[in-house]
Amino acid sequence: MRFYPVDIEERRELGGYTLLSYRWPDGSVQPGQFVMARVAGYPVTLDPFLARPFSFYDHDGEVASLLFEVRGRGTALLDRAPERIEVSAPLGHGFDIGANGTPAALLGGGIGVAPLKILSRHLTARNVRHDIFLGFAEARFAAVAAEFPGSKVATVDGSEGTRGTVLDAVPDLDRYGAVYACGPNPMLAAVKRVAGEDSVCQLSVEERMGCGNGSCNGCVVPVRDGGYVRSCIEGPVFRAEVLAW
C-alpha cells in the first residue's frame, strides 16, 4: 500500500470530533470514498501498526478533510500528530448519486455523519433535494449538526432534538426515493428494514480494515448471494438489498 505524507492545514474541534484538513490536489474523490490514514513514522510507525480508515468529510479539489472521533490509539495519535500524517486515498466505491430517486434522505449515526458533508454538497450541485438526519449519543457530539444547516437531530439521551436514534428523527423514511446512510452496522440494518421498498437505499458499512486495498480479506460483509465481499473494494457503500443483514 502506498502512503503519501500530507501537511496538516487545519485542525479544529467540531462537536466531540476532530476536523483535520490537509492539501490533497486530486479532483477525483467521490462521496463515500475513504482514506487509510496514520501518523508519520520512522520509517514506518509500528505503533499502531495498521493505518485506519476514515471517510472523506469533504474535498474541494485542493483540500481534503477528515472528521473523526478519538476512540483508541490510532485516532488519539492522529489527533495529536504534530505537522503531517500519511494517507492512502481515494479508496473504495462511494455513493452512487447518478440515477436515484428524490427526495433523498441522508442519515448519519454518530461519527457516521462524516461522509454526509461531501455527499450533501454533491447532491446540491446536482440539484437533488435532500433532508439530513443525524443521531448522536450525547449533545456534545450533536454540535456538529451546525455544519449541516436544516438537519434534524436525535440524541439517545434526549438532550438535543428528538430522543432516540437517528431513525426516530425521520418520521417517514419510506417516502424518500433515495436513502443514504452511514453509521454503526446495527443502525444500517435498521435503516434497511425501515427504508421504502421502492427507494434506492445505500449504506456505508463500517468494518475493521487491515489493508484498504483488497489484499487481506479482513473487512468483509455478508452478502445476499452467499459468502462475503470486501468492504474496502466492493464497498464501503453497498446497495442495501445486496447485504445479508
Binding site: 501498526f49 486495498n213 489484499s215
Partner: protein, 298 residues
C-alpha cells in the same frame, strides 16, 4: 533485477529451485490482491496468490482481523472461489515472473487432486503447500501438527508433481522436525513460517475478538529463528516469511539462510517497492549480491 544506484550496480537476482528470480522478494500468500498488483510492478521475483482449495470457501464471519502490538491477528478462513474459478482469474498474476500457487486441502487426497489439477497449467512454475490448515482426517489438527503428517502429504503431492518445484509451508511449532520430514518426502523448498496461533479479546465486551494467526513485525524474531534453525537442518532452499518490514529485514532473513523472502502484512502499510529499494541500498553498502548473502553469517 539490476538496480543502478549511484554508480554501483546491485545484483538482486537469486535462483530458487532452478527458477531465476530477478529479486528475492515474493508476496506472502493471502496478502496481495489482484487489485493491488499495480502497486508492486517490478518488485517481486515471483508471484504467489492467496491459497486456493478444491471448492469455493466463504471464509469466516467478521470480525476477521484485530491489530496487536506490532502485528495483527487474522482468521480469514481461506476465503477463495475454489480452484476452478481461481484458475480462470489467474492471468492477472501471470506478470512475467515465476508464478507459484498455494494450495490447501482438508485431506491428503484433496491436496493431491489440487496438485494434479494445476500441475499441467503452463502458467504455473511451482506449488506451495499450505500445511497449516486443519486436517479433517486427523481430528482437525493441522497438517503441520507432526512430521508424519507432513511427510504423508508432501510425498503424495510429490508423486503427482514431477516437473515443478514444491515448497512445503510450515508453521513455527515443530518447524525443524517438520522441515526434515518434508525434505525427506521430496519437497524442493520450504516456506518458513506461517502465522503463529494467537487470540485477541475485547475486554469491555468480554468476548473473544479474533482467534487466528499472528503476523507482522511482532513475529519477525520468531520467524528468523525458525529460518535459521531449519536452514541448518536441511539442504533445500528456504522461503522466509514472517514480519519482514524493511530491506534490512530481508537481509537478515537471507543471512539466516533464506533464498527468497516473502512480504506479507507489512505490504498493508508500506510499499513493497520501498523495501526492495532499502534492500538494494543494503547490498550497495556492503558490496554483496543478493545471492552471496544467503546463509552468509560470519
Amino acid at each position: 533485477m539490476v538496480v543502478r544506484e549511484r554508480t554501483t550496480r546491485v545484483d538482486l537476482a537469486v535462483e530458487l529451485c532452478g527458477l531465476q528470480l530477478h529479486t528475492p522478494l515474493i508476496p506472502a500468500s493471502g496478502t496481495l490482491a489482484k487489485e493491488a498488483l499495480g502497486e508492486v510492478e517490478g518488485v517481486y521475483g515471483a508471484m504467489l496468490p492467496k491459497t486456493t482449495t478444491p471448492r469455493p470457501r466463504a471464509g469466516n464471519p467478521p470480525p476477521r482481523i484485530a491489530e496487536t502490538p506490532a502485528g495483527m491477528v487474522n482468521s480469514i478462513g481461506l476465503q477463495n472461489p475454489g480452484v476452478e474459478q481461481f484458475l480462470k482469474d489467474l492471468d492477472a498474476f501471470d506478470v512475467g515472473v515465476p508464478l507459484f500457487i498455494s494450495v490447501a486441502g482438508d485431506t491428503v487426497d484433496e491436496f493431491v487432486a489440487l496438485c494434479e489439477r494445476i500441475s499441467s497449467d503452463e502458467r504455473i512454475s511451482g506449488i506451495e503447500l499450505n500445511l497449516s490448515c486443519p486436517n479433517v482426517e486427523h481430528g482437525g489438527l493441522t497438517f503441520c501438527a507432526g512430521p508424519a503428517s507432513v511427510e504423508e502429504v508432501v510425498a503424495a503431492c510429490r508423486a503427482v508433481v514431477r516437473e515443478k518445484p514444491i515448497s512445503a509451508k510450515l508453521t513455527n511449532e515443530g518447524a525443524v522436525e517438520n522441515a526434515r520430514a518434508a525434505e525427506a518426502a521430496g519437497a524442493d523448498a520450504l516456506t518458513v513460517i506461517n502465522t503463529v496461533p494467537a487470540l485477541t479479546i475485547d475486554a469491555r465486551a468480554r468476548k473473544v475478538l479474533v482467534r487466528g494467526g499472528l503476523s507482522g513485525p511482532a513475529i519477525k524474531p520468531i520467524a528468523l529463528r525458525a529460518v535459521y534453525e531449519v536452514s541448518r537442518a536441511v539442504n533445500v532452499p528456504i522461503l522466509g516469511s514472517g514480519g519482514v518490514a524493511s530491506g534490512q529485514d530481508v537481509a537478515e532473513f537471507m543471512l539466516a539462510g533464506a533464498t527468497a523472502v516473502q512480504i506479507g502484512t507489512t505490504s498493508f502499510v508500506r510499499e513493497p517497492h520501498t523495501i526492495l529499494e532499502e534492500f538494494a541500498g543494503f547490498l550497495r553498502d556492503t558490496g554483496m549480491s543478493a545471492a552471496e548473502l544467503i546463509g552468509a553469517l560470519r
